[in-house]
Every structure is written in structure tokens, then in C-alpha cells.
Symmetry: C2
Subunit: 386 residues, 2 copies
């Protein structure tokens, strides 16, 4: 059944509009909301009153007068509830407890020895349980759990395939919702990272953003028109297996010359030269001390990153590309060759308004994004398209 229009819908649209307007601005008066949204002052007053009853909006007292009566400032009550954001990596589980605006209240992490579902799930439950216990008393309590995982996820929160964990068809959302009776959002780690950067990193006021996470492989999250784009079955963005060398090295996926063979940590194993180390943090250490092989390896990876980015730029024409993931820590040595390659190979019109940046959230992007995704799910977002 399609969505039809009635008065309840009108109210929902306007209430949602007001809530998110307040959320995105530190302090606003009713009068300014009326100006900004185009809604009548009376409408704003009514809906704000309801939002106050819902405890989602608070009155912060009088503000500065601009030549008349002092405005009563409103602000979003980020502490109306809490959410948990979690990232599952190959060797590590990290999580945060944060408020509805993504402010971190508490953190937790633990190393993973084994990858079988039972062990990982037990560890996840323990960690979530501990964070829930730490949650401050709020009107709504913990209202959502978001998890970023290194694999393909469908629209029902099923992890279809996670090669690095050797997982297949794991009904993760269902499993967690059964344990905690709280709405759970499962997403690909790159998608979560993209959502994090969009809202808290470089991506503010950006409509089309591409987040590329480089680590043990390459994944990417695609934001289109301010929203996460997922393909027909929810697992687009597997750009690591994009072919950049038609007759290149055979890949485990069945293809040849995949991008991530040249531009992720996988390149270490195929390096033409002798490397002093095979783990990114160690290699960064060597590069920092001037090791030529390490520097050259990063520079080469940077160049290949640039080649793949060019393909994405020509397909998506994004406004901003953010490079994240473990490899992004080697920015110093990756960036020159990467930017050079992109500058040389991109169509002139695409270059005009494109910025390529490294993540400001660092390795926390996915975790923060997952949590915020759960928060947005709780708040809802109804709007009109013309």
C-alpha cells in the first residue's frame, strides 16, 4: 500500500521538520524556526509544545533581544535517550555509548581471538550489556543499537557474506534484537563510516559523498542526495573488486586485477620489493624513520588508490571523497601520489568542485556512524519529494 496524504501525515512532516531543524542548530527561538521553515508561528508553537511533552526539545531560557521581546531559546534534548554504536573488525570489537547527537559518553573495546559466530556474539552481548549498564538515566533509555560489520549486509540485517570472518547468512539483527529488545541496525562498515563522516566529519552540507575505507580490503559507502545508497539487495559499494588491470593478478573473487590487490594491505603480500614489515602500524613506523622501501610501498599504494578513485569520480561525480580505514593513518606518504594521479586522470569538469580528504574521525568513523544511524532510526524522518 502506498503512502497517502492526510492530516496526520501533514503533522508528521512538520513535526519532523521542526525537530530536525532544532537538532541541527544549537539554539533557536520559535520565531526563527517559523522563519526558517516557512511554517506559521502558531503551528511552530503547537508542535514545539508536543516535542517538549515528548521530551525531545527543551527550553533553555531567554536569549539576546534584537530590539524587542527576548526570544525563548529551544534546543534539542540529545539526552532524551542513548544509543550504542559498534564496529566489528577482524581482530577487534569496538563500541561506544552516545547520546542522540552522537556525543560519546562511554567507550569499550576488546580483542577477538576467534571468529566463530558463538564467540563473537557472546562478546558483542557482553560489551553491549556493559554499555547499557553504564547508560545514564534518560526518559527513553537506550533506544537503538547500530553495528558496522566487514561484509555484505542485506536489508533485513542479515550478514550475507563476510569473507574475513568466514561468516555466511548470519541473522545478526534478529539475534541481537532477541537478546535486548531494542531496535538494531546492521550495516556494512563502509556504509556506517560514510554516514559518520557525513554527519560529524567533513561531510556537513554535502549531498553526494563517497567514503572509501582502506584496510585489509577496500570498501566504500555511497551517500546520494544526503542518504546512504544501497543497491537492489542492500550491498552496493563493493568497489574493492573493481578491475583496474584487465589482465592483472588473479583475485580470490574469481576476477583479475582487482583494485584492493593494489591499493589495500593486500598489496604488502605482492610487493615487488622487500618490505621491513607487513602490518600497517609497523610499516608506518618504518616510513616515519625514513625507510625507503616502506615509503615507496605507500607511495605506490597511493597511486593505485588514485586510479580507483578516478573511476569512482567518473561514475558518481561526488562532491567529497573521504579516505578512511586503517590505511588512512599513512596519509603522509599516500596523499602526494594519490592526489597527483587523480589530478592527472580526472575529467576537467569533475575536478571543479571535488575535494578529496582524509577522515577526521579516523578509525572511529564506522562506530560513530552506526550509532548515529540507530539514533536517526529512533527519531524518524518524514518528508516530501516533488
Amino acid at each position: 500500500m502506498k503512502v497517502t496524504g492526510d492530516q496526520a501525515l501533514v503533522k508528521k512532516i512538520n513535526k519532523s521538520l521542526i525537530l530536525h531543524t532544532i537538532r541541527k542548530h544549537p539554539e533557536l527561538s520559535r520565531a526563527r524556526i517559523s522563519e526558517m521553515t516557512g511554517l506559521n508561528k502558531a503551528t511552530v508553537s503547537n508542535l514545539v509544545a508536543e516535542l517538549q511533552e515528548d521530551q525531545l526539545v527543551l527550553e533553555a531560557g531567554p536569549g539576546e533581544s534584537s530590539g524587542g521581546r527576548k526570544p525563548l531559546m529551544l534546543h534539542f534534548n540529545a539526552m532524551a535517550g542513548c544509543v550504542i554504536g559498534m564496529e566489528l573488525r577482524v581482530k577487534q570489537l569496538t563500541a561506544i555509548l552516545c547520546d542522540l547527537n552522537g556525543n560519546v559518553l562511554s567507550e569499550a573495546d576488546s580483542l577477538l581471538q576467534r571468529h566463530d559466530l558463538d564467540d563473537v556474539l557472546a562478546e558483542m552481548k557482553t560489551m553491549i550489556g556493559e554499555l547499557i549498564a553504564k547508560a545514564p538515566s534518560t526518559p527513553y533509555g537506550v533506544v537503538g543499537i547500530g553495528v558496522g560489520v566487514p561484509g555484505m549486509v542485506d536489508e533485513n540485517g542479515v550478514v550475507l557474506f563476510a569473507p574475513n570472518l568466514a561468516w555466511e547468512k548470519v541473522h545478526l539483527r534478529e539475534l541481537l534484537e532477541e537478546s535486548f529488545s531494542i531496535p538494531v541496525v546492521i550495516d556494512n562498515e563502509a556504509n556506517s563510516g560514510a554516514f559518520g563522516e557525513l554527519n560529524f566529519g567533513r561531510g556537513e552540507d554535502v549531498r553526494h559523498l563517497l567514503y572509501v575505507s582502506a584496510g585489509s580490503g577496500i570498501g566504500s559507502g555511497i551517500i546520494i542526495a544526503g542518504e546512504l545508497y544501497k543497491g537492489s539487495r542492500g550491498y552496493a559499494g563493493e568497489t574493492g573488486h573493481m578491475c583496474i588491470e584487465a589482465e592483472g593478478i588473479p583475485c580470490s573473487c574469481g576476477s583479475r586485477g582487482c583494485w584492493e590487490l593494489y591499493a589495500s594491505e593486500k598489496a604488502y603480500d605482492l610487493a615487488s620489493m622487500e618490505l621491513p614489515a607487513h602490518r600497517t602500524p609497523d610499516l608506518i613506523g618504518f616510513a616515519a624513520r625514513g625507510d625507503a622501501a616502506a615509503e615507496r610501498q605507500f607511495s605506490e599504494i597511493g597511486a593505485y588508490l588514485g586510479i580507483g578513485l578516478t573511476n569512482l569520480i567518473n561514475s558518481f561525480n561526488p562532491e567529497l571523497i573521504v579516505i578512511g580505514g586503517p590505511l588512512s593513518e599513512a596519509r603522509e606518504w599516500l596523499e602526494p601520489s594519490m592526489q597527483q594521479m587523480v589530478a592527472k586522470r580526472t575529467l576537467p569538469y569533475h575536478k571543479q568542485q571535488l575535494e578529496i580528504a582524509f577522515s577526521t574521525l579516523g578509525s572511529r568513523a564506522a562506530m560513530i556512524g552506526a550509532g548515529f544511524s540507530a539514533a536517526m532510526h529512533f527519531l524518524g524522518h518524514t518528508r516530501v519529494m516533488v
Copy 2:
């Protein structure tokens, strides 16, 4: 200013919903519309009455009874107005006059000798003028003109760059609207083709579709969630310059190893073997007569098409890919090697629900899509997102 909700909006949403419901089904009664949309019978009656006044819906007389009063069947009045769809190619200008449902009423085409704006524009105006003259008498007359052009187009209908025409920053929409005082929609040829296939070709009931137009270059139109996706400045889909060979042949775009060097008509010039002809229709003739060189050339192009398609599949995860453009006429020789390459190189999960097909609209896809785009612009489409 953002879109707010009020009663006028509710009416607009519901009227639009009813109109498009009727448009997509050959015949419907008010009662069935009420069931299908979830709107109250009274609401449907009122809005249908308005649509009848607007001449967009007609009553077709009584239908079959299903055990009670006979229903009064309604249908969309495709002849409430006409639109013109046009495709500008390097050597040819083609256009159609069609009704609001994309049914062709009249066709026209002419060869282009020169590419300077004045000449082309004059020819376009003549052709449009002739089609307008041929338009039958309808309540609204000719309500829109849609044009597909071989180049990048921004959101204001400006042709930013069309290398094959040597055009730059041509305000095409403005120029045509000034001449005819009818709304004009300008789009990239591949985007128009994608829209045509979505609505009249293979793409019915498909949400994520990729249309790849192979000819003198490669362009692609991306349909996401049933809608044409355009990048931040309106010219995404330039996938022809995607790099599939890191150290490949230098391209005029500044990069190396671009897809279209290997998988479009450009491959003829770089062919490793002696070709009996250098124009696609001729080469198809030779292949049909069993010429080995021609057959091998097409097979090679097919393989490279497959490589590039794999990249697009991994990035977009579409449900359907449609191959169109002049080269698609060589389907017989392209398809085997192309399908084989895709089957070999695609991630298993992507393969599950993917279909790769050749265009059913043939070379008319862009023209039909451009016209229909203009028709949809006239009818409007207001809806809600949750």
C-alpha cells in the same frame, strides 16, 4: 525554504498518486483505485472529478460487473497533450512527437553536416517547428520538449561539454524555451536512454537499472530507486573514462586505459588486426557474412564490455543492465564473450538477481526517454518519503 505540510500538499500528493495509478493501468474503476491506494472512496471520487475537469482522466463507460453494480471504468487521457522527444547525435538529429504515454505519433530525422551551434540549433528549431505543426488538436497542446545530447549537461539544461560536437557551455534549454515558450528538458543521451528503457523497455518494475550506451564512446545512465541519478552537478555516469588498464593506452581525457578505448567504436582505430571496415553497420555486415576479423573484433569488444560492466555491477549492484546504442546492434557477436566475462568475474552475491539484456527500444531509447521525461515533467509527481 523547505517543503512544509498543509492541506494543499495533501491534496497534491493524493491527486498525483491517483493520476499515476490510473496512468500505469489501462482501466480502473474508482472503487479499485480506492482499494489500491488506501484512499477513501469519497476522496477518490472528488479527486477523479478534478482530474476529469483537468481533462487528464476520461470515463470509458461501464465495465464487467463482479456481482453488483457495474463499475465505471476510467483511463488516463494520454491525448490531453503532446510532447516532443529528440536525440542529438554526432551525425544525425532524430525526433518524435508522442502523446503523454510515450506513444509515437510522428517521426522526423535529418543528417547533420556541421556541428556549429548555429547550424544545429537552426535544424533543431525547424524540426521541432514541423512536429509542432503536425501535432493534433489537444486540450493542452504541446506541453514539453525533451532533448538527449551526447555530452555533460548540468541541472539548468546547459550543455557543459560535448567533445564530439565541440560544444562548450551551451545554454540549450534557455535557447529552445525562448523560441517556443514550452518547458524544455535537456539531458545526457545515456540518461534519456535509461529513462526510456525504465518506462518502455525491459525496466518495468525495476528499481535499480543501469543503461550502458555504446557507440562512438560509452555513456551510462543510472536509475536508483526508480529515479534518474545525477551527480552533484548533474553529470554523473561518464563511465566511458573509467580506467580498466592502469598503464593502458593514453586517452584524450588525460588518463590511460579508459574503458571506451577498448569497448566502443574507438577500438576500431586501435585494433590489433586488419579490419575490413571501420563503421559499425559495415562491420556488422562483414561479420554476418562470416568475416573472421570482424567477428573477432566484436568478440574482443564484448569481453572488454564485460570487464567494465563488472566494475559497475560491483559498485551499483543493479537489478538490470541494458546495453544500448549503435554497438548494441552487434549483439549476436558481442554477447557470448561479454556474458562469459561477467559470469567469470562477478562476485557470487551480485550474480543472484542480475540480468544483463540488450535494448529492446534499440536506437530509439534516448529519443523516447527524452520525450517521456518531458511528459512526466508536465504531469508532476509529488510524494512522501519516510
